[in-house]
Structures are given as structure tokens and as C-alpha cells.
Symmetry: C2
Subunit: 220 residues, 2 copies
DNA sequence: ACCCAGAATGAATGAATGTTCATTCTTGAT
DNA sequence: ATCAAGAATGAACATTCATTCATTCTGGGT
């Protein structure tokens, strides 16, 4: 939803100030999660250390184990945050009380999925760093599965509505939703790994093309 | 192309035998790379240690630094192997002297990309483990980019031929190739992270659907 | 002005890991 | 049978990292 780093008034640490600040638990947690995201994006999940994260956050090492009980837990909570932020944003759009027109709602979804907020290297790096470990870590799999399933259901529902409205025949909402989700994931991957070959502009064109082919009356 | 583990006669280590074996350099390298793949799949890239890999290979710790100069290098070479294996297989099919019929060639490609060989958890885990680190490690990005670009060109060429043969209009080969590649990547991701939600059967149906919508005369 | 609950610190600790290298062993050539 | 080249070993070393906890500090309540 809202950008994580804007949640706190504090802003950048005032250069000279070494004065110890006491802040509520929730705020410190978020501060550490934000720092973790930046560290993962810059150094890779396997190179992240507690010292690195706490220094990035401008705090001492001990504090990480005070608010999260362990490094493992900090990483887990960071994944949960990123996953919920992404899927939450999608779901808000798809439920879409704001946007009555279904075609426009589709457009808004695409804008969100391939727009500035989500396709920052930071966010995508974190996303795929965890995917990479998911094969070996059931905890990660579970976190992602949970939010994923909900988003998939909403997308299928939206597609179902569109199919009914457009009277499209020979189209299966579920299958199409699976394909569209996979396509978006694949495009994110391309943007992350081969940004030279795939521009954001082209990624959007590709996704839009997929939707146009499926729902010609709704996307022009 | 051929499965990596079948390259060597040696087979599984004879249970009791502790006798030291001397083998040519190339063979030991492959043995270590295979072990690395298994370790990454089972424990995740960030948990892999040299001791773990060498034990998995049935060898001593020192040997890894004898044949690869460092852990970093072993991981790099492992990525290169997996990347070339996957893209090499694709390219062989797409160049396709074997299969003159373009529709059948497309089918063969899809079979390869979503067939038993590639969609093993082992291979997919490794694949995405590296993608996850790619954001922070230019070396990985370069390895993947290189093989990726070649495969993308071949795919675009194949699509161009199909478009010409089928006289399809309003279709851009390049854009379609980007979309198809992204779709396949996304499906692999789904198979890895949410195998409960996405079966191999359904993944194939989704990919086939994409192709059918684009080239109705070639895929039925 | 004083106090104290608990937030924050960071030096210390112990466990784990990558790398080295002196030594042992194997093999093919002589 | 002998030997040298070099493949293989694994104990030892230095480093790095997560975690702990005795201590310090802060700010709201009285």
C-alpha cells in the first residue's frame, strides 16, 4: 500500500546526532524491516548480516534480537511484510469499489503490477531472493502461498465478471488467471535479471497484449 | 541436454569403499557441480557450505579449492552449467533440424520447458536461487543475460517463421516471444513455490493456451 | 526534582565457515 | 619393481557472524 519508508517522521538520521532515542516497539520493528529490505536488495539475501542491517538502520546490534528474537525471524517477518504489501495492493484494486468499470479496473491492476512502486529493484530483489530460498524453506513457502491464494481468487473472480460482461466464449477464468499471474511474475523476473533486454515500457506492452487478446472488448 | 548425473560411469559411491580414487580433472569438476546443485536444492543457496558440498560428493574438503579456486567460483560455475544446460536444450529444439513441422517444433519446445527434465524441484530451485541473488551480483546477471539473449533470438526467429507460415496478422514476433518466455518463467516459479495450487498438467495447459491463442492454426 | 520501567547499547563469547598446505596415496611410465 | 607427477586428504588457522547480557540511558509519571 503506502511506501514503507514514509511511515515514520524521523527521516534520515541527523548526521552528527549520537543521542540515544527511545521509540515504541512497532516503529523500531518497521525501521529494521526497511533496513533489511535495503540490505537484501544491495547485497543479496545470502550476504545479509545482522551488523549490516542494524548499521543500515542506524541502531546497535543488540536491538535486532530485542525486537525480533533471531535473524531467522527478522528475515521471516520481512518477507511477510513485502508479500502483504504487494498482494494487499493488488487485492485493494481488484475488489475495486473505487473503479466500477471492469476494463479500467484491469488497467489499474496492470499499472500497479508494473508501475513504479512495485518494479523498483529494491522490491523485486527481495521478492525473488525469497523465492530462491522457498524451495528449501517451508516457512517461506507457506507465507507466500497464503497471500498468493487470496490474490489468485480475487483475480479469478474479476476475470469471471469480465467474461460474463463481455460474453466471451471458450475462455476459462481460472486458467487465464493462472496465466496472467505467471506472466506478471515472469516479467518482474526479466526486469530484475535482464533489464537491458526488457524495458518497463515493453513489459507493460506485453502484459497488455495478453489481456487484449483475452478480453478484446475491455482492453483496446 | 543430457542429464548431468549420467555423464559418469562411477554411479553411486560403493558403500564401504574408502579407497582413494584418482580421476581426471573434468570429471571431478562435474561431480562437484552436481553435488552443489543437490545441496542448493535441498538446503537453499544461502545455507550451502563447502563441507556440505564435498561430503555430498563423497570427497574431502580440500578438493573443492583444488579444482575451483574458491567457493564463489564453484557457485559461479554451477550457475553457468545449469544455465547452459537449460538454454542449450531449448536452442537445440528451436534450431530444430530434427523437426521440420513448425507446430510440432513448438510442441517439442513446450514439452521440454515444462517436462520432467526441467521441472524437477532440483533444477528449478537452483535456477531461482541464483535469480534471487542476481540483483546484487553482476556476475550472475551477466551469465544469465548471455545465454538468455541467444535463446530469445532463436525463439523470436521461430515465431517469425510461424507468423509467416500462418499468415497471422497484427502479431509482433518479438513481443510475443518476450511474453512466452516470461510466461514459462512464471509457471516455473509457480511450480516451485506453490506446487499445491499449480500442477504440472495445468501449467502445460496454460502455456499451450497462450500459444493457441497466438497461433491457432499451428496449435490445436 | 526525582525515579524507575524498560528501551538501547556494544563488548564479549562461542560456534561455524572458507581456505591453506604438509602429508599421503595412486597411477602410468620406465 | 621403481619412481615421479600430481591428485586427494583433512587437521589447523584465521575470520566472520549470531547471540547474549551487564550496563547505560531516556522520558513519562509523580
Amino acid at each position: 500500500m503506502t511506501d514503507a519508508s514514509s511511515a515514520v517522521t524521523e527521516a534520515l538520521p541527523e548526521a552528527g546526532s549520537k543521542r540515544r532515542q527511545i521509540r515504541p516497539k512497532a516503529e523500531r520493528r518497521q525501521q529494521l524491516i526497511d533496513a533489511t529490505i535495503r540490505c537484501i536488495a544491495q547485497h543479496g539475501l545470502s550476504a545479509v548480516t545482522m551488523q549490516m542491517v542494524t548499521r543500515e538502520a542506524g541502531l546497535s546490534v543488540g536491538i535486532a534480537n530485542l525486537h525480533f528474537e533471531s535473524k531467522d525471524n527478522l528475515l521471516k517477518e520481512t518477507l511477510r511484510f513485502v508479500a502483504e504489501e504487494y498482494h494487499g495492493g493488488q487485492i485493494d484494486i481488484m475488489e475495486g469499489g473505487d473503479i466500477p468499470d471492469l476494463g479500467e479496473r484491469l488497467d489499474a491492476l496492470l499499472d500497479f503490477q508494473l508501475g513504479r512502486g512495485v518494479t523498483q529493484r529494491q522490491k523485486m530483489s527481495v521478492w525473488f531472493a525469497y523465492y530462491g530460498e522457498a524451495g528449501a524453506r517451508p516457512v517461506y513457502q507457506k507465507i507466500v502461498s497464503t497471500v498468493d491464494r487470496l490474490a489468485a481468487q480475487k483475480l479469478e473472480a474479476l476475470f469471471t465478471d469480465i467474461i460474463r460482461e463481455g460474453d466471451y466464449s471458450g475462455v476459462d477464468a481460472r486458467e487465464l488467471a493462472t496465466g496472467y499471474s505467471a506472466l506478471i511474475d515472469g516479467l518482474h523476473l526479466g526486469l530484475l535479471v535482464t533489464p537491458r533486454e526488457l524495458s518497463k515500457r515493453r513489459a507493460r506492452a506485453v502484459a497488455r497484449d495478453f489481456l487484449r487478446r483475452a478480453f478484446p472488448q475491455h482492453i483496446h
